[in-house]
Amino acid sequence: MANLPIAVPLRKREKDGRLYARPPEVEAVILDLSHLTKEEFIKRLKAEDSDDYVPSECLIYFVRRAPFESDSEVLFALFTAIRQRVLNAVPVPLHYISGEFKKAENCVDLDIRDAVLDKFQEMLCQDRQEYLERLDFFECRFNAAIARLRGTARRDICNDAAHLAPLAHDNETSEPNPKVEKALSCFMDSFESPKTDFLYRSKIHAAISSLPLEERRVVELFLEDIPIDSQETDTMTMVKILSCCEKTVRNRRDRAFAKLAEILNEEVA
């Protein structure tokens, strides 16, 4: 591939003015791929074993720079491969359908996956017309960049869905609920223990992602060890961050953990 002897530097700058830089291992694979023939290059894109696997950051690099003088066979192979990586980076877990003993995909998760893929396609097309610095981040940390798109898509879709959902009342009792306290304790034990099975941990994450945004935020802050409230004025608390009263935070937390306990019990059963 004579036209790309070195990895082209990125243009986006970090907050402190430094140029974004790809990880050295990504640069190394880019240089490695740059020396392949067309046939070898296409074959390498399909490699699944860990030694030859092409990181998504490298796929983006080549999609943006159309190697082999924009050969359409190569470009289509790259385009197909990068779309698969996007789809894989937006998991759509299976959930039990309430009242039935079978699992199905959640339509909200499917909508999020579609929205992320559409946004990614839009960015690729924009970049093809005029260099889009935002895509530089995808060449550095693909999964984090997709997480950004997923966050925006989830907010848009969940906010729309919230208009159709029944209202959750926050004026319930603020007394500690023993069942919820127990579920919360079990959840934290299994989440933090290094002995927890990878699959079970994935199920926990999938269960958290299925919660309504308000409840999901409380769980996230809980996992970040941020207290609900504090007497110390300088301490960052959920009450301050979410701008709501302590009772509301506790109610959201209780609802979230009751749901998580229910989902995970179904999984175990």
Binding site: F76, C125, R128, Y131, F137, G151, R217, M236
Partner: protein, 200 residues
């Protein structure tokens, strides 16, 4: 009030952080309280990404593949991306340019010569290149790529001449240091770097 562009930049910066822990989240939420919900949502998505990293579902159905491909092809491509596109001096105009010269401890006229590629790239000492790339937030390779391009007409000449300005000849870094007005301590430092470079 924060513009949509600022908001995107803050969220991009948070996503680009190397560590996403309690401290990073707290730092951003304190600095941008109006983006607290977005930042928490993003923290949650990043946690999800980390949990599912490496887990492949195999081939996932992509019904829009062909129409997306056609749209992609129909988009007129930009000119081929090359290193020439990176203008390392773009963020250093006016006062920022003077500050950069101060940071490098060289006179502005010498920095202007580097900017206008009036110096033979191979004569730039490694020590100076490293100081320069650190100060501009780039890498030595990016600086070398910038300098390797054809020298450009000095900035501003287009407004002072009746004829089209043409690039001037290049000088070695040592020649520029010796002929530019600067303090003795500056000259000693730069000539020492030149000497180390010439010995290697």
């Amino acid at each position: 009030m924060m513009t949509p562009i600022d908001k995107e930049a803050v969220l991009d910066a948070y996503a680009a952080e190397s560590v996403h822990d309690h401290n990073t989240l707290e730092l951003y939420v304190r600095e941008y309280p109006e983006l607290a919900e977005e930042l928490i949502d993003l923290a949650s998505e990043l946690r999800l990404s980390a949990a599912f990293a490496g887990e492949q579902e195999g081939i996932i159905s992509d019904p829009k593949l062909n129409t997306s491909w056609e749209k992609f092809l129909a988009t007129a491509p930009k000119p081929a991306a090359t290193t020439s596109a990176v203008d390392i001096f773009a963020p250093f105009k006016g006062a920022a340019f003077a500050a950069l010269a101060g940071k490098l401890e060289i006179p502005r006229s010498l920095l202007t010569a580097v900017r206008d590629r009036l110096v033979v790239p191979s004569t730039l000492p490694g020590g100076f290149l490293r100081r320069f790339s650190d100060a501009t937030g780039t890498t030595v390779d990016v600086v070398k790529s910038y300098l390797a391009q054809d020298s450009q007409a000095p900035h501003g000449l287009a407004f002072k001449s009746d004829q089209k300005p043409s690039p001037q000849g290049q000088a070695t870094f040592r020649q520029l240091v010796e002929s530019t007005e600067m303090s003795e301590s500056q000259r000693i430092l730069l000539l020492r770097e030149c000497g180390e470079h010439e010995r290697t």
